[in-house]
Amino acid sequence: MSNIPADTSIEPDFEDYYVNMGPQHPSTHGVLRLIVKLAGETVLGVTPHIGFVHRGIEKMAEALTAQQFFPLTSRLDYLSAHMNNWAWAMAIEKAAGIEVPERAEYIRIIMSELSRISSHQLWWGVFGMDLGAFTPFLYGFRDRERVNDIFEKTCGVRLTMNYICAGGVREDVDRDFEKDVREFTDYFEPMIDEYDRLLSGNIIIQERTKGVGVLDPETAKQYGCTGPTLRAGGVDYDVRKNRPYGLYPRMDFKTAVATEGDSWARYVVRLEEMRQSLKIIRQALDQIPAEGPVRAKTPMNIKIPDGHYLSRVEAARGEFALYLVGNGKILPQRVKLRSPGFSNLSALPETVKGWRIADLVTIMSTFDLVMPDIDR
């Protein structure tokens, strides 16, 4: 129903109508400014303006030791704090040649998958709200609260955990950890069906998302999109599978892939990812050694040897890569962060052309942008 072709013809003498979407706008999720060129309701073009929360984290890394940079990585994409920590830890471990204990590796996987779930829960709720349904927002947060409780019990903090560190994790998990996580997985699996009941099965959602904002795989690849945004187009690329890190090769899971590349596909991929994450968590809980060290002995200030080190992880929004240049001192010479949100956002203007304002909101929501991640 109602597909607007991307090349909707607009008479050349049509008076251009520009609106500023953001930086203060409810559905830009942070301080993103979009200059939208409109013809009536139809979006002719979008120019994103970013940098409102630019903190110069890459530059700050050059003045901080390896340990000290961890809390800042949590603050990039704050919804995948564990994954970002992991990327930095991995780079440091590669550089300094640190072996990570097995138990720590499992804890890392469990934590990362939990934060992937919590990130997608938040996304699901906000997606509902962007489309005008307020209730999913509360349901999403209700379930996310359980993940946060698990995090708080083990890491002491709910959002910017700073738990994964060079050589393992900062301390062993809470004594109730396994019980809590198992309880959560059992609790949350039926909740995904509830999500389906409330939003996925809703014909309005389907009409609003199916066929809307198709990002074809070629364009997606050219813009460097990763994560669910890319996989929705049928490109089977997941860092966990294609460039495995940690103990992911031991895990049996499927990459969530759809073929259509539209908003609906992105939605479905994220829901499926939650299910796969639950599967990974269950496996990791079964395999994790009951006892053992969780942190390798590391010097307080780790010297980063000469050389270039690259680490990449699959964050909730896509591939988060970290490029570290060391020069033998304890401070890194250069740190480059490749955040998934930035590349995904760059594909947005291409995708929204010819759609309505309401679709712009849908597409932006399914791209799942987190501004601190993009602005860094």
Binding site: S27, G132, R208
Partner: protein, 365 residues
């Protein structure tokens, strides 16, 4: 005294008689009566909006596993009072480049149209402020004046988002009004009158939603959808569309001017539910089943005004239920839905109704 609650028509008659005697002329009595009615109605509007807002918050809260307002007063019942005081106390801003006159007029237009509609609603036997032989048509006409206010407000705000919201709202309300009217008109042939009190009286034997075979139910469904759209409620709240248009036509409004839009929205919900209750569910008429006299007498124990407000409350709840469950449609999908599905359906419904009436095909005729 007790009989007055059940026989409000008697109350009104006695009151009129007494006023005529006291003032000496029928005209003066009418003036006094209208003044009383206006005062009562004003109080009623304020109270109604507060109660509806409170109920909406509680309904929303409990649907979302929350509790809603809890702090001001027991279970937060004074929350809306506090909010009203806040809104009254706030400074009413007019944007610098806005068309000040129209900008300030718009909320009044919206509010006035909703307010006027209330005077046709039959609350109880004889309790209609304006008894009018074409009340139903008139209410539909007046209700659409509100869209003028929305359009004017959006335009005069001199804000691009507001204009978008106003245009959406204009297109939407004008389209959905057709379906709403047609859905109501389909029932009109059955009772052959447009006077609200007579509509209610015609349902003594049964409510039209099931007395008119199929047509009543279909008409009710169409009217519920179309009236939700007319009130700018989710899933048809594209005019506000807070996640798209940051508030739409009322983005620039604050304080009392905003409160009027807000008030009008809730009064509109009440009005459409009241119309629906009157036309499809018998208004203040208690539920009766032919032959079961004991049961009917039990139902008669409840005063008509309770029946009326009970029915309206159920319908209002449905509208709120929609809002806290559904996402919103896109503007073109909205138009599609109206012109391609709802409107033909209501035309078919009207045709079916005409056939049913001329063939005498309805229950308890």
């Amino acid at each position: 005294m007790e009989s007055y609650i059940y026989r409000t028509d008697k109350l009104i008659l006695d009151l009129t008689e007494w006023l005529t005697e006291a003032t000496g002329s029928a005209f003066a009595a009418e003036v006094v009566k209208m003044s009383i009615a206006a005062a009562v109605l004003s109080a009623f509007v304020g109270l109604l909006a507060m109660i509806l807002i409170y109920i909406e918050r509680k309904v929303a809260g409990h649907m979302q596993q929350r509790v809603g307002p809890m702090r001001v007063g027991p279970h937060g019942i004074l929350q809306t009072v506090a909010d009203s005081i806040k809104l009254v106390a706030k400074e009413g801003l007019t944007p610098k480049n806005a068309d000040a006159f129209i900008f300030n007029l718009a909320p009044l237009l919206v509010f006035a149209s909703s307010f006027a509609c209330l005077s046709f609603i039959p609350f109880s036997p004889g309790m209609t402020i304006v008894s009018f032989n074409v009340g139903l048509l008139f209410i539909l006409g007046i209700a659409s004046v509100g869209v003028l206010g929305i359009l004017a407000g959006g335009w005069a705000s001199n804000n691009k988002w507001s204009v978008l919201g106003a245009m959406r709202s204009g297109a939407q309300i004008i389209s959905y009004e057709l379906s709403a009217t047609l859905a109501l008109l389909a029932i009109v042939p059955f009772f052959g009158t447009l006077d609200f009190q007579e509509i209610v009286l015609s349902q003594q034997k049964g409510w039209w939603i099931w007395r008119a075979p199929g047509v009543g139910l279909l008409g009710f469904l169409i009217y519920t959808i179309a009236s939700t759209a007319e009130c700018n409620r989710t899933p048809f709240d594209i005019a506000e569309g807070e996640s798209e248009l940051t508030g739409g036509f009322h983005t620039e409004y604050s304080a009392m001017k905003f409160a009027m839009f807000f008030l009008a929205e809730f009064i509109n919900i009440f009005i459409v539910s009241a119309i629906s209750a009157t036309v499809f569910f018998g208004g203040w008429m208690p539920f009766h089943i032919e032959g079961l006299d004991t049961l009917n007498r039990v139902f008669d124990l409840l005063p008509p005004i309770v029946w009326f407000f009970g029915k309206v409350a159920c319908l209002v709840f449905v509208v709120m239920w929609f809002r806290w469950t559904f996402p919103r449609l896109r503007v073109d999908q909205l138009m599609h839905f109206e012109w391609k599905y709802l409107m033909p359906l209501s035309l078919i419904n009207l045709a079916l109704a005409a056939i049913a009436v001329s063939a005498g095909l309805y229950f308890f005729n």
